[in-house]
Symmetry: C2
Subunit: 100 residues, 2 copies
């Protein structure tokens, strides 16, 4: 049965501090321990080596679309998104695709 991969890039506003980004990475990194539907979860802040890059990438793998929805709607994920990410967010790009 195919799985689902959720790929996100986030761009943070000018003035967002390294500490804020570190806090977001840390908070996101805690989600797999509370969301068992996350089969794999890789979060990484951009190295700043290419002009025009976004700020952070998230690649999340699930066994099913329902697993993705459980992550999307989980209160801990929603809390990180609304309390820590949205206040510094200037752009977001998302793809969801099947995996084999």
């Amino acid at each position: 049965m195919p799985g689902v991969r959720h790929v996100v890039t986030l761009t943070f506003r000018d003035g967002t501090t390294t500490e804020q980004v570190d806090d977001i990475v840390f908070a996101l990194g805690a989600l797999p321990s509370v969301i068992p539907e996350l089969r794999s979860y890789v979060v990484g802040p951009d190295l700043g080596r290419s002009d025009g890059s976004a700020s952070l990438a998230i690649v999340a793998d699930f066994d099913s679309w329902e697993g993705y929805e459980a992550y999307r709607d989980h209160p801990d994920h929603v809390a990180v998104a609304t309390e820590m990410i949205v206040p510094v967010l200037s752009g977001r790009s998302v793809v969801q695709h099947e995996t084999t």
Copy 2:
């Protein structure tokens, strides 16, 4: 030694056909056979289940930044990008981050 992950989302112009997207996915999928620096390469077209999603995601893993540069500059990759992707591209978001 940490590796490098290259995460890209591409958004294609309205009117881009499924066949054009399939051709791009197929052409990208051939790159690992000619670019040995690609340790892992996952390409997936968006399922269209979330409003405002981009069209295609690419997640490429390398052992080093030099591996990423070999991919970036490889003539077969450049050919797919310039001949197949750029003509239908309306947006692109990129992150490069370390992996452990």
